[in-house]
């Protein structure tokens, strides 16, 4: 029995004629935080979208907890505990905070469990409880990110895909989000973290991959990457 949660084998993904991923190999093990780094347009979001099933790969294989999910539609992979928090939060503006959280547990039948999970989310992000009746579109950027993560946690993720959770946030909020990620990981969630903020990401990550124009060009454990001269020059400089 292996402790591999997610494995990508030679994954290729295209948008029409544009080839975005050119043979990605990647492994995420149970209990890890794995960082996926890379410049704008490298294919980080596409990698996450391919894993969750929002876009289909044209070649390769994706295994999640021992099952082949390469062809599974997005709404089915969710049921198996693979939860994707997309770039730009994508919360439902025009609906209340509470309704957003409800929708996070769409697959759940039991209202009692739903309530328990919502209490847990409110424990992690107390501000959401204060704003529960408010239109989610009126939340600040940081609060929206908390809502996006809270919504994902309504689902009890076994694997959480986070796409740039710190994007556009003030430094103290980045710290706050990173703290929550560490806390989630400590309480058992495995995490694949896409970040522009390589410094913050590598502080948390057990392992990291560097993506460049659709290919993995480097991989190593978090500490080594943090000290790697090439990484320091490309992503951590000043």
């Amino acid at each position: 029995m292996s402790d591999i949660v997610l494995q990508l084998q030679d994954i290729e993904t295209c948008y029409g004629k544009i080839v975005a991923l050119r043979g990605i190999n990647l492994v995420v093990k149970k209990g890890q935080i794995v960082a996926l780094l890379g410049a704008n347009g490298a294919g980080k979001s596409t990698t996450l979208r391919t894993i969750s099933g929002l876009v289909k790969s044209s070649a390769g294989k994706i295994m999640f907890l021992g099952n082949d999910i390469t062809r599974s539609p997005a709404h089915e992979t969710v049921r198996n505990g693979l939860i994707h928090v997309p770039e730009g939060r994508r919360i439902f503006k025009g609906m209340t905070v509470q309704e957003n959280l409800d929708l996070g547990s769409f697959t759940l039948k039991d209202d009692g469990v739903r309530k328990k999970r919502m209490e847990r989310v409110f424990g992690l992000f107390p501000i959401l409880e204060k704003r529960r009746k408010q239109d989610a579109g009126l939340l600040s950027g940081g609060e929206q990110q908390m809502l996006a993560m809270g919504r994902a946690l309504m689902n009890e993720p076994k694997l959480l895909l986070l796409d740039e959770p710190s994007m556009g946030l003030a430094p103290f909020l980045v710290q706050e989000i990173m703290r929550v990620i560490r806390q989630l990981n400590a309480s058992g969630a495995t995490i694949l973290l896409v970040e522009q903020n390589a410094k913050a990401a590598l502080k948390l990550a057990h392992y990291g991959y560097v993506l460049e124009t659709g290919k993995i060009v480097m991989e190593n454990d978090g500490n080594s990457l943090q000290n790697d001269a090439r990484i320091v020059n490309a992503y951590l400089g000043n």
Partner: protein
């Protein structure tokens, strides 16, 4: 008639008319909200609803009679049947078109409209059908105003249906998913929502409401015909746009306002009832000039 009598009478007429408009407008607005399609076949669904109701009533009235018991049963069965017809049309005609350019699916809707219209025309030989019900003409009179119980029941039934819809949309998971899909489909898929399934449910609900209106129109006017969906389709569309297309409370409000405007419009000096359509569409144009998103619409403006 005194002024007060006239106002009361037109209020009653306007509420009935507005009920039909609202029920049909809801289907327009729900489908637009979820897949951004102006479903021009929706008026024909209302017409099909009336004919399905007619057929069901001819069987049901033998068992339950043609009083309210029979009519309520007919209405419920028609709503279910037409709901499924809506789902089937959606599955065959619209779903394959969802990724295609907008214009393609719009043309598909026009084709569906023509098919339904011609189908019913040939089946019925283009004849009027008498929608015979045994409800009588009892009612209450206030001064010179006379309002039948039938009118009151139809308006109340509309209110009940709208309340149920309101609860469905706001309190159930599927209702919330429906609203969420109109905001962000991909985000919904990431919540585990089967978007195609929710779209199908939306068509079911919208078609069922149109069927309810079709049966009510049969009961109220006493006869039905294959072209009865055309004008009401336009009017319901107008109502949906007035209320803000995509907005469910907007469709309810838009329908009622349009019904009331039309019935009161007939009372304006020098504008006879033959001008009532001009009046209704004129108001729409004025409203769109000053508030392009409709009364309760969202602020985004999209070109079609």
């Amino acid at each position: 008639m005194s002024n007060l009598d006239i106002i009361l009478q037109q209020l009653a007429n306007g509420l009935i008319l507005g009920s039909f408009y609202s029920l049909v407008a809801l289907g327009y607005t729900m489908v637009y909200g979820i897949i951004k399609l102006l479903n021009f076949a929706h008026g024909d669904i209302y017409m099909v609803g009336a004919f399905i109701g007619f057929s069901i009533l001819s069987v049901v009235s033998g068992i339950l009679g043609d009083g309210w018991t029979g009519i309520v049963a007919t209405m419920a069965l028609s709503m279910i049947a037409v709901g499924f017809i809506g789902v089937i049309i959606q599955r065959i005609a619209y779903r394959p078109m969802l990724q295609a350019p907008r214009l393609s699916i719009l043309i598909t809707a026009l084709a569906v409209s023509l098919i339904l219209y011609n189908l019913v025309m040939s089946i019925t030989d283009g004849e009027f059908k008498a929608f015979t019900v045994g409800l009588g003409y009892e009612g209450i009179s206030m001064g010179e105003v006379y309002i039948t119980f039938t009118q009151m029941v139809l308006v109340s039934a509309t209110a009940v249906l709208m309340t149920i819809l309101h609860l469905f949309i706001n309190k159930t998971m599927y209702g919330k998913a429906m609203r969420a899909i109109s905001i962000d489909q991909d985000a919904c898929r990431l919540m585990g929502i089967d978007v195609n399934r929710v779209i199908a449910v939306t068509f079911f609900v919208g078609s069922a409401l149109a069927a309810a209106a079709g049966v009510m129109a049969g009961v109220y006017y006493g006869s039905i015909h294959f072209f009865m969906g055309f004008v009401i389709g336009l009017k319901a569309f107008t109502a949906a746009v007035m209320g803000g297309i995509g907005s469910i409370p907007g469709a309810m409000l838009g329908g009622l306002i349009l019904g009331l405007l039309e019935s009161f419009g007939t009372q304006i000096p020098f504008i006879g009832s033959e001008w009532k359509d001009v009046f209704a569409f004129g108001i729409l144009i004025l409203l769109l000039v000053f508030k392009p998103t409709g009364l309760l619409g969202r602020t985004e403006i999209e070109r079609m």
